[in-house]
Symmetry: C2
Subunit: 347 residues, 2 copies
Amino acid sequence: MSDPIELSCPSPSTGYERVVLAHGAGGRVMQRLITDLFIAAFDTPQLHRGHDGATVELSPPIAVTTDAFTVTPRFFPGGDIGSLAVYGTVNDVAMCGARPAVLTAAFILEEGLPLPELRRIVESMAAAARRCGVRIVTGDTKVVEHGQGDGVYVTTTGMGTVVAKAAIEPASVRPGDAVLVSGPVGDHGIAVLAAREGIEIETALRSDAGPVHEAVLALLQADLSVHCLRDPTRGGLASALGEVAQSGGHGVRIDEASVPVRPEVADACELLGLDPLRAACEGRFVAWLPARHAARAIEILQASGCERATTIGEITSEHSGVVVLRDGAGGERILDMLAGEQWPRIC
Amino acid sequence: MSDPIELSCPSPSTGYERVVLAHGAGGRVMQRLITDLFIAAFDTPQLHRGHDGATVELSPPIAVTTDAFTVTPRFFPGGDIGSLAVYGTVNDVAMCGARPAVLTAAFILEEGLPLPELRRIVESMAAAARRCGVRIVTGDTKVVEHGQGDGVYVTTTGMGTVVAKAAIEPASVRPGDAVLVSGPVGDHGIAVLAAREGIEIETALRSDAGPVHEAVLALLQADLSVHCLRDPTRGGLASALGEVAQSGGHGVRIDEASVPVRPEVADACELLGLDPLRAACEGRFVAWLPARHAARAIEILQASGCERATTIGEITSEHSGVVVLRDGAGGERILDMLAGEQWPRIC
């Protein structure tokens, strides 16, 4: 499933083709990996200073968010663990109503990881950061023995200045709010699952992993009263709606037919007995805002690259904490959060 | 070597005695772990809001630093992976000349980890954060399959407002600067090694893991011209001196006899054929500042709990990038950075 690894690129630390324990041990071999690979790829002034931390100029209030990425496989159609870490964290900063500016990156490498794979991941992170206009300013590298990791785990922390004028959080959601989704759901989860299991369901299946902050900022700058934002990652749309409903203490009614799902995702879910509403997205978000602002919000989202943005439901004052799904025939059922999830290690 | 685990404490998610994949899967089981364990222990307003990120009020310039912790064993004399993660990151923020204020914490848990162990680690982090006056404002939890991790890895990111008036970095170091160390070196590395290998060398061996920011802030507030700060973690004092010398483009001469080493650490090193100057500390720091400020700096450090703070050497304009060790008889030798280190997974 993964693209072929380019093995001819020069090894970042001459004499090593794979990660060894010395790459995390604080000596010259580690220093060289950091200089030749991480600093060369990320290329920010803070990293070139060679200090074990960075100084940044950010105006308060500052949004901060952190995520560990353990996705398997680490290369999948439409992305890899490196770009996913950048987009995932950029998106989480945006979900706080903030403009993403700065990232940190910590790597836990497993002894034996081919260095060309690490290089490919790091270069993918650097490209994703450039695309988003964020800087990776500091980081850390640890190496664990073979069998104590799974190639590479990446933890990214993101920061940015809050631009939203009011608090973007579950407690701000009100009965009568519309619930919008920025695009089709479930692509990432199904694409990663197919790649992992080697299932050739649909060649068109690709992760939606990508940045959403420009669309979010466009919404916020339009002076709409955005009450809450959430990216439907683990647990998919069902968990995003359920978590916000429980935290905010309100109910949600979703019109099932209005939720955009790509035909190839729907087909794969049908075949595998999965629910696209529980499959992770990594380039979509849900927005809660007053119903009277919904039409304008969708216009703005569609003009910001979210062509399939749409209203999928509304906030109710009844059945607090519960998500109700209404089908085409007017029947209703509860969209429960699962205890676990359909599958692990999706991000 | 590790203290007995209290197995009678209630499991944070009823029905589970160990971490299962569902604890990281985005559903109700994960939500309950986060609510009952992480939010209950860290207890910060940002976490109670139930949003996937936090907003903090920090004035610029802001220091930011990140570290992944993979120490083994996860409980060792004088600390554990949780308190180590907090102190290590608090100290790295202080090394930027900043007052630590905010932490984030991301956990990679291995399926099968006993939940009472996780609780003990999380409560240790909470206690360490309270001791340092920092708040853990947001986090993340992922679970990997048994055999793809090693119990628990913790990645912490720290932030704080810079209080130093000039840039604290290797490039600020000047020939003629004195090199100070805040206390005896090598305790952490030797204590962890002894615990890991089950060596009963010295019952008095304990990690020095602890916060140094109060002592650093006392130095900075005294209007001394602190040029650089570095905590000698992986690779020990040798790597800290070598890295700063190479980044700053200067030489260092260290008076070997002046470097404080506890007798029990010296004895253990003698027995095991290890060098205390290459053994990690987690509660010490090195400071570079003009020689004329050294005596005052040591007074301040001693008054701030660093009773054994002392000058260990000076910066030279010759042999750039090299650390020279002078012995009692006036002989000199180069203190090279090792390619790797004496042992892995010390932090």
